[in-house]
Amino acid sequence: MKASHRNHPNYWAFVLHRVSGILLALFLPVHFQVLYLAIKKADVFDGFLHWAEMPLVKLAETVLVVLLAAHLTGGLRLLAVEFLPWRDGQKTVVALTGGASLVIGLVYLLNAA
């Protein structure tokens, strides 16, 4: 049976890096505009923050934090692959980046809840 190139942690690390990058890039203009509200209309901004207290929004924020952490840790992995001497155990590094991202998301959720 021919093994698919998709059946490898590094392929999924590539997909996650790409998807998280696109989502973060789309989120950024919204993030900046919402922050601008805090300057222009503080009461509207605080109303928005009140809306953001809803569990579903908190969950969405946690996903964003995990995406940011995953893009960070995945990016550090890529920089290490490109600029440092090759090391074996790339699958372990992928697992570590995934684990670290989830831990950061959990720490956020525990503090935000």
């Binding site: 790409r18 990058g21 696109i22 973060l24 890039a25 950024l28 203009p29 900046f32 505009q33 922050l35 601008y36 805090a38 300057i39 503080a42 901004f45 605080d46 923050l49 207290e53 934090v65 940011l68 952490a69 893009h71 960070l72 990016g75 550090l76 890529l78 920089l79 490109e82 600029f83 950061i104 720490v107 956020y108 503090n111 935000a112």
Partner: protein, 135 residues
């Protein structure tokens, strides 16, 4: 047998290819250098998010924290500029790889995206700083 034709390259074509290679290398390097800056910025940002979210956020709390602070202004300006370099180059690679848009159109779109990110981000960073400046 059909006659084989080989594309003829003029010296100008050769120069074009050379300058394309050079600009691709510069973009590749800019992407990596901005990534290194962003790695530090995002670590600080994640730490700040987790610290600031404790006890809830408010406009006053954010302004109290970053308003009038040169250190935070320098941090956020660096952060926004690194994003301005990093995100459009990444999107450019994805659009070139995954869509049928022409390279020129992709370059234009990403340039517009970069200008928009820089404008929105720097505007917020500078306005927040100004709110805390005691005149």
């Amino acid at each position: 047998m059909t006659p084989q034709t080989t594309p003829q390259m003029s010296p100008d074509d050769n120069l074009d290819i050379q300058s394309t290679h050079q600009s691709e290398t510069i973009l590749w390097l800019a992407q990596r250098i901005s990534a290194m800056v962003l790695a530090v910025c995002i670590l600080v940002h994640l730490g700040t998010i987790i610290y600031a979210v404790q006890g809830g956020l408010s406009a006053a709390e954010i302004i109290g924290r970053v308003g009038g602070s040169e250190a935070w202004l320098a941090f956020y300006v660096t952060f926004v500029l690194a994003i301005t370099v990093h995100a459009p180059i990444g999107l450019r690679a994805i659009l070139n790889e995954m869509t049928k848009l022409s390279r020129k159109r992709v370059d234009l779109l990403c340039f517009i995206g970069a200008v928009m990110l820089a404008y929105l981000g720097l505007k917020v960073a500078i306005r927040f700083y100004n709110l805390g400046v005691v005149s």
